[in-house]
Amino acid sequence: MSAIVESKLNPADAVYREVIPAGEPWIREIRKGQHFRIVDLGGNQAVDTLFYNAHDYSDRFSAQDTIREQRNIYLTTGTRLLSTAGTVLLTIVADTCGRHDTLGGACANESNMVRYAIEKRHMHACRSSFLKAVIDWDHGMSKRDITSNINFFMNVPVTPEGKLTFEDGISESGKYVEMRAETDVLALISNCPQLNNPCNGYDPTPVEILIWDSPEK
């Protein structure tokens, strides 16, 4: 499933813009109706993303419910990002990359030790960024709130034989994905620092966030 659709929104009209350097987290509330765009500035940058119902963080993005309900493992235009309680958190309304992952999860010091080498524990990883962000957000979130995330711009194919690999990305500099918040949400991003596999093209780069007020008024 791949639906390349461009957005009609003009960055000059955005009410918020922020560049996230590689290896940094970002956390912010997005109000119902707002549009939220992530731009892959450098090309092939994995953007690990979690969403929560802003009024109940235990009602959070569910990878399994999202892919099952659309009967497809890849996220693209038209995908409804569902929560554990069945809430539609956001809808992807534009996508110039064409495919995003939600099976590859986020890197961590611990999973890096398994996947690459025990000596690589020190290498910076997304789940440390996620934890730092929720600690600083200071709303009582903890490791229990860190679950299976979306990887925007990442290419993780699954074969009919039941195998899975991290492939070279299909994204490019300037590609973006844009979502409409269907309810008030909390968005949490880690701009992935992983150097051990091609998810960032071995060169983690910054991404840009833009938020527009609802154009549907």
Partner: protein, 238 residues
């Protein structure tokens, strides 16, 4: 593998729930007695349940999108919770998640306890949440689950489809606990089961001692990632 006598056996009734802390070095055998069963399961390090089964870590460390013999279930802390030491089914589903109340009502209608007694319709999410509650855990602890005995195929374009007839009568899977693992299982229908009738199946359980993974353990040797995973697990217990 050291064969050992069964410590006890029991049956999880259709649509029912079971939980137990599997002790390190014991194995849980789940048997699909009738064929076509689905056993949804979630796993936690009982000593610190913020450490729990992590579906993406399990898939990417082993480069798999299905579970069978020779593969392990990873926690989010780089440790092996359970190993699949034997499997006559061949494919278990880590992708499709679990049924919920709205889905069951939509698909099968209502069946309340008042009219149906213990055959009332149950869904996996509520079942997981209630059982988690008994252990002092809650919605923030509910994570991606495995569906044992079920198979979901993924096509080249990413399309997911339920694969009927995956599990034959009498087929079984053995899960060895490599830590002390809080294990929650229910036998609610698979969320993609096309059966127009609500018809969950029972699953037979048995527990026996099998010992911990030796140096030639097939799950340890199946790939270098798992060699490191077992090392980290063993260090945890030192």
């Amino acid at each position: 593998m050291i064969e050992s006598s069964i410590l006890w056996e029991e049956t999880v009734q259709p649509g029912a729930t079971w939980s137990h802390v599997l002790k390190r070095g014991t194995a849980l055998r789940m048997t699909d007695v009738a064929g076509g069963a689905n056993a949804g399961a979630i796993f936690y390090n009982f000593e610190c349940p913020t450490e729990r089964f992590n579906m993406p870590d399990t898939l990417k460390a082993q480069h798999i999108a299905r579970l069978t013999e020779g593969f392990v279930l990873y926690s989010d802390m780089g440790r092996v919770l359970c190993s699949i030491i034997e499997d006559t089914v061949g494919w278990h589903d880590p992708l499709a998640g679990c049924s919920n109340r709205a889905m069951i009502a939509d698909r099968y209608g209502d069946a309340r306890y008042q009219e149906c007694r213990n055959d009332y319709y149950k869904n996996a999410r509520d079942s997981f949440l209630v059982e988690l509650g008994k252990w002092g855990l809650g919605p923030r602890d509910l994570v991606a689950n495995v569906n044992f005995f079920s198979r979901v195929d993924v096509a080249a374009d990413g399309a997911m489809s339920f694969h009927a007839g995956n599990s034959q009568p009498g087929s079984y899977i053995d899960l060895r606990a490599d830590m002390n693992v809080l294990t929650i299982v229910n036998t609610c229908p698979h969320p993609l089961d096309p059966n127009p009738k609500y018809d969950p199946k029972p699953v037979h359980l048995s527990i026996r001692r099998v010992g911990t993974a030796g140096p030639d353990d097939p799950c340890r040797l199946s790939r270098p990632e798992n060699e490191r995973g077992f090392t980290l697990t063993e260090r945890y217990f030192l």
